[in-house]
Amino acid sequence: MIKILNISKSFKNIEALKDITLEVNDGEILGLLGENGAGKSTLLRIISTMLKPSSGTALINGLDLISNSEEVRKNIGILFGSEVGLYDRLTPKENLEYFARLNGMSKDDINLRIEFLIEEFDFKKYFQRPCMELSKGMKQKVAIARAIVHNPSVMLFDEPESGLDFKASRTVLEFMEKCKLEGKCVIFSSHSLENIKNYSDKIAVLSKGQIMNIFSVKKYRAKYNERQINDIILNWVCKEDKND
């Protein structure tokens, strides 16, 4: 579970995030909707401890992000869109092993986990070939497996479907849903309104580093039709400032 408490982040003179407070429970997908430059990646990078917040903090499974960053990282899996980020000369198995070992897993755990992932993703046929010989779709699957090799309880998806063709993006999104069903806590950032609406439980609209609104998709669906929901959301996405 993720608890974000008053996080702000500035890069020199750019205020990328302003006083963000959020909560995501286990077994829940939070959709982070925003245009390019809204601050989605920055927020996810802060949660994954790649960036330090300028102020505020967050608790990941109760662990403080700032004081306990190395432990926090072991609880987190990240998946990016277009870039698969695999070592071309290593086989899928070696890629997975490498990341598992760097996350401090024991040999037995690694073997069990990889067995499981082979079944899960139907890897058997190409598990012994170097990644550079694999098709893009296969690589994407390996990248997904890599992200969860250490079985993290928190998953961050940063525009995971961008740059992928229809089938591949479907694979990723369905995988995301599966994570949720397994009880993981998921944040999914995207600029696709459709995907965010279809896969999230809660939506946070981010614009210019500020959260414009957080709402439950279910509740909105009970009140409005799709068209109305779209209009409301787009209104927030494009709003200049919260206060005008």
């Binding site: 990282r73 698969v84 980020g85 490498y98 990341f99 760097l102 170097p130 250490h150």
Partner: protein
Amino acid sequence: MIKYSLIVFFKEMKCIFRDKKTFIIGVLIPLILMPAMIALTDFSFNKNKNAADNLIISISNTDNSFYKFCHRCKGITVKDVKDAPSAIKNGEIAIYVLIDQDLDQKILSGEPFKFNIDYNQSSLSSVAATRAMAQYELDFRNLVMNKNFSSLEELNQAISEYSNFKTESTDSSISNSLLYLVLIAPLMIMIYCFVGSSSTALELSTGEKERSTWEPLLSTGISRRFIIVGKLLAATFTGFMSTLSTIIGFLGYLYFEGTLKSSGISWAGMIILIIISLFISAFISSISLALGIYSKSNKEAQTYFVPVLAFIVAPGYMATSMDVRNVGLFELSIPMLNIVCVIKESLIGVSNCFHLFVVSLWVVIYTFIVYKIACRLIEKESIIFKN
């Protein structure tokens, strides 16, 4: 924990060795480069060896003991030419020896005397001939100096007995090409050590960024300095491997050619060279790694690398013109200058273990400092997420 660094190290080695290109550039080429160079130079030096074995010279004055001496030497043919400079130029003679008019008087009175040797500086065979000539000159001096000849007859007597013994210079088994290569071998070894470690270190850092594995790697549970240590080890090892390949290729060739024993290669010198190359590898690797971490792409890193390279090489270059026999602790503390000093020392047969120790210590300190800088860089957000 060293365990994590080793995980990184072994993974990098696996990647490096799976790439044929790295293997060819890092191992295969250094292995065959030196033998190929020896074979080539041997070919051209064989011609020169002829010139040295069969010296054709001319002497300024003919009525003296040195002229007689030269006639006695089997390897020398004395020609009388009118215009010595043009004879040298057109290859009629290899060497023109200008000697004192009153050479014999000087010998008898025990005064010093001079030989001026004129030769074609642009011809390799002529250069080889001067070497042989220098040996004959030495023999002559040994024969006549400090002997207190009482008369010219006695001097001539000594000369006429000379034919009994042989000059050694040219038919000693150590070939000219070998001498030449013993001189350039360390240079080649250093270059390969340099290239091997820097290219690997740059690839290990910027390669991660270009393949977008950098962020997933940094977001694993491992502390970032272990990543640096692992990569540093991998780059150092690769540079060292190239160095060893060069040395093995060189010595292997000499061994199979049968000249290893007579080559005069000092084992202590070789060992010092190997140890030093390990330190150079580590030093260059750490610098390249820090640069690679700082840069966004390999291209950017390359542009930074050129001035940095100049900065590293300049002190080393200074050392090549220094007399290394009296270097002090100050010189031994300047990076690269100190390394070149130790290499030069070992080449002239001075294997100074204390100097080796001091230099090693400094290189370790410098490498550590650069490593610390790299650790700083890898923690900086503005560098990891440069755009």
